[in-house]
Symmetry: D2
Subunit: 373 residues, 4 copies
């Protein structure tokens, strides 16, 4: 009986368990393959107990569960693995061990669900002869070549609902609410979550902002009768002119280890602009929770395609989404690029035109509203 292994690497994303479930079900029920699970990413191949059989029973109840039953505790790159030798930490290439283990396990295919980093390693292993098929995964939506990655829709729903919850309390108290969202390099969660959650200001890594524009925007809103403003900030958003997050000239603040730009924006608005401000850091809420229907479906679809690619021996490919259908792209191509928010894209343009401020320039001004009773 032919056999494939499945592994999940990098940060977890809602939908990983749907991938594992679909791989086991399709491979077992339709193609008669055996499926093995690999624990904690590529590390599982270096661990004597790291590879084990996955049965239909193991995946019975996992479709709706967040996280990954295979674990993702590790980001070990087998081409540059941290080891301690003679009291010193160093990076060692152990990829040959991985390749050897895959050989000794007699694996006919390895399905790898992961983001940028994990897929890049998959590509390198493919070039060393490992029969790899990739499945793109990341809540950040920053994998090139696919219309969407699973986990993203769930994260956007989480962000949008958080923003939405804040509207009524912000209005009742005439406050600014700042919400820091995930996204170190890519602002997709903040852009789409902000649009869907009715944010007034959206700050993303791809569009450097100016503190003064924030203050002006908030003050214009107040002048025009708005009782509150909602600010969605990506954790990787930065002011123009550098990566420092100094709130005011003269401040000697340092980026804190926990918490970040949201606190700085909040402090600035409260202290410099003089508007009552509250800050929420959503953090890992965005990575957790049960996947949305879209993410369950997407994860299942990509996994189904990956199994077919594996069974047909089309290795070195990634299963991607194209206009709501599965398609395949070479790993070489996908891993060579990253995806970022294009500041000229539709979503940004529409957001700007509908009055959202991105912190780089003032938004179009609404006329002074007539007084409400």
């Amino acid at each position: 009986m032919p056999r494939m292994a499945v592994l999940t690497g990098g940060g977890d994303a809602p939908g990983l368990n749907a991938v594992i479930r679909a791989v086991v079900r399709s491979a077992t029920l339709t193609y008669g393959w055996e499926v093995l699970g690999v624990r904690d990413g590529y590390d599982g191949f270096l661990n004597p107990h790291g590879v084990f059989p996955l049965t239909l029973g193991d995946v019975e109840d996992i479709l709706a569960r967040g996280g990954t039953i295979l674990g993702a505790a590790n980001r070990g790159n087998p081409f540059a693995r941290k080891v301690v030798r003679a009291g010193k930490e160093m990076l060692v290439d152990v990829s040959d061990e991985v390749v050897a283990r895959i050989g000794s396990l007699r694996l006919d295919a390895v399905i790898v669900a992961g983001g940028d980093g994990t897929l890049g390693i998959a590509r390198d292993l493919f070039h060393k002869g490992v029969p790899v098929v990739g499945v793109p995964k990341t809540i950040d939506n920053d994998v090139w070549g696919t219309d969407a990655t699973f986990g993203f829709d769930t994260a956007v729903n989480c962000a949008a609902h958080a923003l939405e919850r804040l509207h009524t309390t912000a209005e009742a108290h005439h406050r600014v609410m700042v919400v820091e969202l995930m996204g170190r390099e890519a602002g997709f969660i903040t852009l789409y979550g902000g649009l869907a959650g009715g944010a007034d200001i959206i700050l993303i890594p791809e569009i450097p902002f100016r503190y003064q524009v924030l203050c002006e925007t908030v003050q214009v809103r107040i002048a025009r009768g708005h009782k509150s403003s909602i600010v969605a900030v990506a954790e990787g958003a930065r002011p123009e002119g550098g990566r420092e997050v100094i709130a005011r000239p003269g401040d000697a603040v340092v980026v804190p280890r926990l918490g970040g730009i949201g606190q700085f924006v909040g402090k600035y608005l409260e202290e410099t602009c003089g508007v009552e401000t509250r800050v929420t850091v959503l953090g890992h809420l965005q990575r957790g929770g049960s996947p949305s229907a879209f993410d369950r479906w997407l994860a299942t679809t990509l996994a189904g395609e990956a199994v077919r690619l594996a069974v047909n021996r089309q290795f070195g490919q990634v299963a991607v989404l194209r206009q709501m259908q599965a398609a395949a792209l070479p790993l070489d191509e996908v891993a060579a690029h990253v995806k970022r928010v294009d500041p000229e894209c539709d979503a940004v343009r529409t957001a700007r035109e509908s009055g959202i401020c991105f912190g780089d320039q003032a938004p179009p001004l609404p006329p002074l509203p007539s007084p409400t009773p």
Copy 2:
């Protein structure tokens, strides 16, 4: 100041208010147009009070609200409007009145958000000289030419969560749960909701089913140790060989006005197959509720594109979704087609391969499970 009108036609869908909001905001803030709302679809043009100004204040709190603030109470086709004359109901073409009203209102553009029927009328009005731009809308996802329609994602989430809630209670009581979902002609909600909600059997209009296959599938599942089965049925699903829904030869049942195929499938499984069965009819829950983040974003994006098309005088176009970006297609093209689930598509194929039964043939069989303690 140039002015555009916006109307929403046909059944309501979560996201319509996001369209109205984005049209008012973009047109007013960025392009300096006046926006008018049209009440209750095309009927508003025949009603002296049916067209009224829409301001920024009117759309302030509506992004997250289901339904449509413009109303959708009517499906009047101005080319074939029901009127009663001399005690008899007849269809009359009043489209000239609509065209005249649009002229007298000095509208520079009319943005029409609707499904098949509404867009078809929009096309016909365009050919009579009305400066129309379309926005596709339907929870059924059956509009041709767009990757997705808003309202669909919300409906699929609703369906998936309903199915998910039933798993644990079905297992606790060793029952079959049948859930009837929306979709008279197109099975998208049932297919995607069923996939995401972990359905074991999915019945859609595009794939006629056989009652006997349902019974066999349920019985095989019981024999293999599954404590329950979940059946997702589109309201338009029908058995092979005709549109009748007769459960057993000899039954003289008639399709009830309220409720439908779900009850028949449930009755059949309970009485003929002898398995305890419960039926849920989700009904209009799927059409109601706050739009998902995806639908809010999609509705906003298409509305933004529609405003740009209108401002640029590109009439007779529909704003559609292509790979997560807005694009435009001619109304003639969009209204000339319908979209249905292709029984050979990815989603169906992956579903079949992962063990889901579509009622036309037995699914791949799992091996007999080992007994659990």
Copy 3:
């Protein structure tokens, strides 16, 4: 090491797994008892494989899960168990076998989570010497002596959210929406769910209704400018004068096996009153799903109290809720009563005063509203 068993009987309710979890954790971690699980209610004592050890690991991930990991597939009353002898079905008292098995298992306590029926059996077993402690459970909230039962809050949230989703779509289309909710004998879910979901008409078993009052109420609402009406109907609601559900004089309809009073009310409103009506049957959605925070907390609290009662050898008691604290009542007392909605209670009175119709009399009339633009 002393040992207790835990069993769950009757229909499942969200929170049962929280009970099992808290019993295992408290008994094991704090009191050093062993815990056994009993499969499928009292039946487990008659099944050689029906009783098995429950460990901390078994309850690790179940707090948020609906259903019961012990199963509830059976309602077998050991005092009157259905058996087939000589081809005939008869009821046999096998309670001595149950008592004997409990003895041979050397159980120092048996914790029984169940509703009316299950607790009545527990009382009878207690009088035969079994060291029983009860935990009341039912989504219907009809157990006497406790401020609330777990499962109820989850069911009410489910019902309220379903009603809420229907408002916008009902308004958009000027329709009546009828939602059939659980409750054969007690109307608590419909009363509280209806109040929380903004129902206009609430029909419960404790207050017989008249069809004509429904029609009048809906028509008065239409006359006063309301675009829609929402009707919440308990499955056990019945018209005055009998248990039949005949919609109109002359109708020869029979109560259908699947579906029920909701369909009749819907049919009546559509055909006799002439208002467009849609019907939703929520069904087992109300019994499924993850427990609400309140139900998780309540289930945990009652289980903790039950363990303390057991450890202190206070048998024949039920752990109940009194003003947000756990308390104990004799099984004899709890099992001797049922709880129903008192038609004169606060909730009904407040509902009536705020304009809700219970179908027995017209609600207070709102003045004619001023026309909206």
Copy 4:
């Protein structure tokens, strides 16, 4: 026609709009009173435009909305109102002005929905002759004399779901997750939310904690095979021996204006205990959002009782919840006390017995688990 006013004071809580709605509906429809709304708490009585008629139409769609349509932007105490005179801020007693305004408005009753502070002012106004009836409101559940306050259940659900979302991602990455929850003086949200969300460590103001106990608990959990730990921290939780939050001897940290104890606990666990830790600050998410079914029902019930108290001229009373029924208590009594978590109460005891650590002592230890594959 007699007339009553309704005002909402202090921080907003989900359910305030349900109170306003029920007051308007009951008073108008059943008792024929006129209802006036007071804007922004007691301040409305000092503002010429601060009191205005509330109609049935004004409250039509607000049952499910968070916040308060009356505004709560102000915490002005008319007995000690901040004013600036001669460039200096001072506190002035303007209560006579409020009393005079209430007289000139010919109010027969004033219904005040608020927490501790607001109800204390209501009591003082009552003793100056104002016909006041109180409705207790606070997400913190710290009002004495009522089984529960509305807003609390919604906040607990929000907290529990946040904790729940973190479980899978915490496990996937072998991390500690710290979630800071609301509650400066009272730990109810953290206690009940933590119980319902499966927290392993719960820190509340009423039980001072020791940093070292946190570290030991987390390390014991790791030693026993738990892949993650979830810590729920009330914003008012403090270490033993003082109110400072210094993480380690020698640290010169100061409590930050934004963010707080959660960051300190997170920093301590990461840096001193050496376990990877992430921090989430839920913030105002807990105060926002649509009220839960329980809170909608509770708010409606208390408002109905308050209207009856007003109509029957029973002033100086507060409508409270007693065993799921409305009751009345003197304002003097309610405003004289506060409610805090009793460290010996049921909920804490059950939590401790089931293995939860409160930071003051190590929890009962689970046995070493057997290795999982």
